[in-house]
């Protein structure tokens, strides 16, 4: 699968006649990650809520008057296919049962940033980025981990499951359905991490009580405080499993 740098940043590329050129101000810096780009074009290339918001965000950044950090230097956007630069690598990740080959990936890219920014699997969220909040929880070889504290390059050969691979609308995982039924969220930002943790704990040797659920869910922080309903959702699925 080829990288398509220009898909998401089409509106920023100097080559595009339909868009004005965007030069970086001298005091603007590049963040460490390379430009955001999907590894495969979205079907039909149509405007989705996600692509609209993503484009809006990037445009807003470049157009903003404040001395802000922007996604990438214009030069690298103009020459995205210059081959792997020093510090970059090519690797294949197995995500939700499918192999994805990532070319010219910065070795510093965490699994979290790679999922979100390169594969556009934005269901996995970035909260603290330091392993303290659990919003980035995914499964690696069936076990829950913080994807923010792992470099993508360390996961060649691993089976990675994200919230997108757990279930989809119309075919929800029982835990996803239970979170809906029990209202296990308010703003929803921590929810995918909560659900990834909650599904993983079903296979862990923890005790049967609500207190055991609370301890097992301690690595997932909910700033809205939906904990009571989260525990209810997890309890519900555990009871379903116990009966089955």
């Amino acid at each position: 699968m080829a990288d398509h740098f220009d898909l998401r940043f089409k509106h920023l590329s100097p080559k595009s006649a339909s868009q004005p050129e965007n030069e970086l101000a001298p005091d603007q810096q590049s963040i460490e990650l390379e430009p955001i780009a999907p590894e495969s074009p979205t079907a039909g290339g149509g405007l989705t809520r996600r692509s609209f918001l993503s484009g809006l965000g990037a445009t807003g950044l470049l157009a903003g008057a404040a001395p802000i950090v922007v996604a990438a230097p214009a030069a690298s956007l103009a020459q995205p296919e210059q081959g792997a630069s020093a510090g970059n690598t090519t690797l294949t990740l197995n995500i939700n049962g499918k192999d994805h080959t990532l070319r010219n990936l910065d070795r510093r890219a965490t699994l979290l940033d790679t999922l979100r920014e390169r594969l556009l699997l934005s269901g996995t969220k970035k909260g603290c980025d330091h392993g303290q909040c659990g919003a980035c929880t995914v499964h690696v070889n069936g076990r829950r981990v913080n994807s923010c504290l792992s470099f993508a390059v360390m996961h060649q050969g691993d089976q990675i499951t994200t919230i997108e691979g757990l279930g989809q609308p119309g075919n929800l995982h029982p835990m996803q359905a239970a979170f809906v039924e029990h209202d296990g969220y308010q703003c929803g930002y921590c929810t995918s991490g909560q659900i990834m943790s909650a599904t993983a704990l079903l296979k862990e040797p923890i005790g049967p009580s609500d207190e055991d659920i609370e301890h097992a869910m301690a690595g997932n922080i909910c700033r809205c405080g939906a904990y009571t309903n989260i525990v209810a959702a997890v309890r519900h699925v555990r009871q379903l499993r116990a009966r089955a």
């Binding site: 330091h130 659990g134 470099f151 993983a200 862990e204």
Partner: protein, 329 residues
């Protein structure tokens, strides 16, 4: 974050070839975190996750041999650990979060770096940043005159007062674990009591590892027959928090008298804090509240509290008393 070269060797021999400043990476829960903060800036990462060091084996002599790559959750839930080294299982399960325990390894936990907020500040030890002798020797210790509620009261020096953050190591200190190392100069083993170093005037040197040396195994001695072991951790919230004070106790009581006691404390020392003083005060004594109190006083006799962490002295005493009650009940 500084960019780095990356290697993933398949054997210990190949892992040992890479010369410093290469850093070994296993679970990454400390190293990746600190690389993001530019506290750690390795130019080469040697990913050791493929090395054959992920098993737990019973030894002929009755001990347990734990590979350096055994994840904290696997160690905590191992039937032999739960049955014969309960203090270790409890300590592991009291640390970090389930996700982190799935990543963090036995070897990595031994090498956890401190949680001192001054140490973790990206600019610490640089001109204009906080003084941190651990980051840059000679730049001072901002914690001593700063906010140090979480900091150590035992084993501190004028150069560093950061608390050793590990729970696992505290349990291993009470179990008298032996650390197995392999390096360019060969293999050696060292007791956990000698593995970590006091800060003294070299707080940047945290353990005895030489450049390029790798932790390969941890060995637990044969369990003490008839002994019970308990880990108790006191913290600001019920889970997912570092200790304010913790205690690991392995104790054996016969006819109401304490025949055997191994005591280590966490959250209070600059290294996992084995208390020979408390052990000495207990051995041969009756298992009563009075002797527990005497042991707790002995454990904290050398405590050097400061403005914000003075509460830890009494908290640690009560923590130890409570743990002794549980272990001898």
């Amino acid at each position: 974050m500084q960019t780095f070269e990356y290697f993933k060797p398949q054997t210990v021999e190949k892992a040992l070839i890479t010369p410093p400043p290469a850093r070994y990476i296993a679970g990454g829960t400390t190293l990746v975190d600190l690389m993001k903060l530019t506290v750690e800036t390795p130019s080469v990462l040697v990913d050791i996750n493929s090395l054959p060091l992920a098993s737990i084996e019973k030894l002929p002599g009755g001990g347990l041999r734990i590979g350096a790559l055994v994840r904290n959750s696997d160690l905590a839930w191992h039937p032999d650990v739960q049955s014969f080294y309960a203090v270790l299982s409890q300590a592991l399960l009291s640390g970090a979060s389930p996700q982190l325990r799935n990543m963090a390894t036995t070897g990595g936990n031994l090498l956890q770096r401190v949680r001192c907020a001054y140490f973790r500040d990206p600019d610490a030890g640089t001109p204009g940043g906080y003084g941190c002798n651990k980051r840059t020797p000679g730049t001072g210790c901002a914690a001593i005159d700063g906010y140090h509620r979480m900091h150590a009261i035992l084993g501190t020096s004028d150069h560093c007062i950061a608390t050793h953050p590990s729970d696992m190591c505290v349990a291993m200190a009470a179990l008298e674990a032996v650390i197995h190392l392999e390096g360019p100069k060969g293999k050696r083993e060292i007791s956990i009591a000698e593995f970590h170093k006091l800060p003294g005037n070299t707080p940047h040197i945290e353990n005895v590892l030489e450049p390029g040396e790798l932790v390969t195994h941890v060995e637990l001695p044969k369990p003490i027959e008839g002994a019970r072991s308990v880990y108790l951790k006191l913290r600001d919230r019920a889970s997912y928090e570092f200790a304010l004070a913790s205690a690991a106790v392995v104790a054996k009581v016969e006819n109401g008298h304490i025949q055997y006691a191994r005591i280590a404390m966490g959250g209070v020392g600059t290294k996992p804090w084995r208390s020979h003083e408390a052990e000495g005060a207990l051995t041969g004594q009756t298992a009563t509240a009075a002797s527990f109190r005497t042991a707790a006083e002995a454990a904290m006799a050398a405590a050097h509290p400061r403005t914000d962490n003075a509460f830890k002295v009494e908290l640690a005493k009560r923590c130890l008393i409570r743990t002794l009650k549980l272990a001898t009940a």
